[in-house]
Symmetry: none
Subunit: 232 residues, 2 copies
């Protein structure tokens, strides 16, 4: 169905996979239903190529994995998505072309089709409910590929926003000193035998975390406000 | 939408996640559209619990991650699904309750909602097209959890007990509510246009960290002491 192909294109775009090859799409090609579902992944659909047989589609590939939930009576390596990502990477590094084969939304790949592959991709899922739709299977396979291929990129993604200005130790120490002085004044630390441990606990609360400079300023204001105006 | 909730239940079932908590589902609960979409994950929908506020929903949790694609100006640890799985496992092994927070299908979580979490889950995806639907995000988070739970459960048992008695969300929420009430009384929050952001900042300071129960108690005492005795 076109909707499934569109959803697959989206999952590919999510995970940095580019090249989509279709074997005998049921409703012909191009398919407006695919485009409607693709939501921004039009580029992948437009570049998709159509083949009249699986053999033609994978003819120029050096290594192919077939995705199947059921394990058939075949002697092939069975890989998880993570293992598959590693294998794909190894082949790619050697300049070889690889492919992941996905079957029809309902019936999957036939035995004959699976037989074409070098290895089987099985996604470890709860035995209680192991079935995914087509686009979800593509998403998980692509996700593992992207984690591997994008190790460097990952750092950029997570640091995208500006890193806030974490307060330095001196600023945090001034904050706790301020608090301790106010608590001495308020009587909170008046039991001599408890005072050292209380102070250690307070330091631990504020000093073990990465407070930003702004947060340190906020807390200075909070302590001052609480201490200088009577609340009840 | 019910369809999204059903798809989420399916992704949970796929990945061995059991407990679904809903906060103010738009179309009420139960919802036939959810059941129709759940396709075999009825068990999770039937056991789902409904809450009228996020605070209630996470009240008994010790550690919460908020899922968001956009990184806000908040200082919280940012975890990938794989890192999150490891963290969840550590807390679970110590007998503590954890939750992953997902937002609305379109708009995600608000800043105020995100402020309730200890950490942010961001799924590393292609910058060209980083958006997932809700069920896909649940699937990827659950997938990593399932991969880990399948292999590492053993190893981490020996680390049980390394996590101190972390306060649960209810206890931390009560602490910030206490502080806010005292600051309202002291006049610190008297500028109406600044109040919401100030409150968010305060929540963020105390709620993103793993405060222990003892530390929460200490801070209650600190706030009370500062507020009830004049310091200068």
């Amino acid at each position: 169905m076109g909707e499934n192909i569109g959803a697959v294109a989206r999952a590919m775009m999510n995970t940095g996979l580019d090249e989509l090859r279709l074997v005998e799409p049921r409703d012909g090609w191009p398919n407006p239903a695919a485009t409607a579902m693709a939501a921004g992944a039009d580029r992948i659909l437009e570049a998709a190529t159509v083949f009249s047989s699986l053999d033609d589609a994978i003819a120029d590939c050096h290594w192919v994995a077939a995705t199947t939930a059921r394990l058939r009576d075949m002697v092939k390596p069975v890989l998880s998505p993570r293992e598959l990502a590693g294998t794909l990477n190894t082949y790619s590094q050697a300049g070889q072309r690889t492919a992941i084969l996905f079957g029809r939304e309902r019936s999957g790949l036939t035995n004959d089709e699976t037989a074409r592959a070098n290895a089987i991709l099985t996604i470890p899922l709860s035995p209680e409910h192991p079935s995914l739709n087509l686009a979800q299977a593509v998403l998980l396979a692509g996700y593992e590929w992207f984690q591997l291929a994008g190790t460097d990129r990952h750092a950029d993604v997570t640091n995208a926003g500006s890193v806030p200005d974490v307060a330095d130790r001196r600023e945090v120490e001034q904050l706790t000193a301020n608090l301790i002085a106010r608590l001495d004044a308020s009587g909170f630390l008046s039991l001599p035998d408890k005072r050292p441990r209380m102070i250690r606990n307070l330091r631990n609360i504020f000093e073990r975390h990465d407070l930003t400079q702004q947060e340190v300023n906020t807390l200075h204001g909070v302590f001052k406000s609480l201490a200088t105006r009577r609340a009840d």
